[in-house]
């Protein structure tokens, strides 16, 4: 957005962290699913608005694959200043978008285990548990953008080692 007003990246990080804390810890501490839906819905609306903005000066997309590619390249570049590192598909409506350094997880860390040589399975489960709530918003973002561009889908996220992250897009037939 040339000439647009800008905001510090740390502010965005802080807002997202605070939004997750507000919904998951303060408003709905006993209903994690409801909190997830609320945060996801905020991302959904923002994703719709961003899709409208970022596709303004380009020809219309011909098929679903073009839309997914747009998300991986241009959309990701606008939002995160980098492209998706790896895009995989099973050619049957499931796409896996892998980002090896997901920007919104780079400021995140978990309590280091007492013993650094702790067994890896428990630590990766810990990472997934800690990072999970912070991925509702980007999942909503992707779903909103895709839905607005005519690709109805469900989006989930997986994380095993910080700050890498995979988004799984399932297109609804």
């Amino acid at each position: 957005m040339a000439g647009g007003r800008e905001v510090a990246e740390s502010c965005v990080d802080a807002v997202i962290a605070e939004m997750v804390a507000t919904y998951c810890k303060r408003l709905h501490p006993s209903k994690p699913e409801l909190a997830a839906r609320r945060v996801e819905a905020i991302g959904y609306q923002v994703g719709m608005q961003l899709a409208e903005r970022y596709t303004k000066d380009r020809p219309r997309f011909a098929d679903h694959l073009e839309v997914i590619k747009f998300i991986c390249k241009d959309f990701w570049a606008e939002v995160f200043k980098k492209q998706i590192d790896n895009l995989k598909t099973n050619h049957r409506g499931v796409f896996v978008l892998q980002d090896n350094r997901f920007r919104w997880l780079t400021r995140l860390s978990i309590d280091s285990p007492a013993n650094p040589s702790d067994s890896s399975p428990t630590s990766s489960a810990k990472v997934a548990q800690a990072a999970g709530p912070y991925l509702y918003y980007p999942c909503g973002l992707i779903r909103g953008a895709l839905t607005n561009l005519g690709v109805p889908c469900a989006v989930s996220a997986e994380v095993s080692t910080l700050p890498a992250c995979s988004f799984i897009v399932r297109i609804k037939a």
Partner: protein, 169 residues
Amino acid sequence: MFAIIDNLLPGGAAGASSGGGGGGSIMIVCVAIVGQQNNPLYLQSFTGADEALKFHYIVHCSLDVFDEKVSNPKKAGANLNDTFLGLLYPTEDYKVFGYLTNTKIKFILVTSDQDLREIDLRNFFSQFHGAYVDAASNPFHVPGKRIISPAFADRVSTIVKSFGSTPQP
């Protein structure tokens, strides 16, 4: 599927038409935005008289042409996926032009002018789309509902007034 909504912002229409058309004749008589489900999002006429109903009818008729242009790519030719769809159809008094975005939002322009340059039209739709993007990004705007922001109405009348002032290539 295209419910008629009653007179939109009557004050804005009167103000815009009295000052509009720097060259004497008013060229753009109506602009409209129609959503993904063919739901009306915005309609504004720029003739002094209260003719919203007539323009709703004209805009409604153009929706079928949108579908036809998109599903019949042969007619569209080379610029198959261009957002600007060109002339949709002429009526006795007006010409109707259309623009379809990636997000399947339809922009419609009704003009009384017979001699138009394509660059003016493209320029107009691009600015109109920009105004819509900003209005839709307003967190208080509900997606799929009518745009009621007065700031948006002001911006649209400014764009309409400046129509045709693109410098010659």
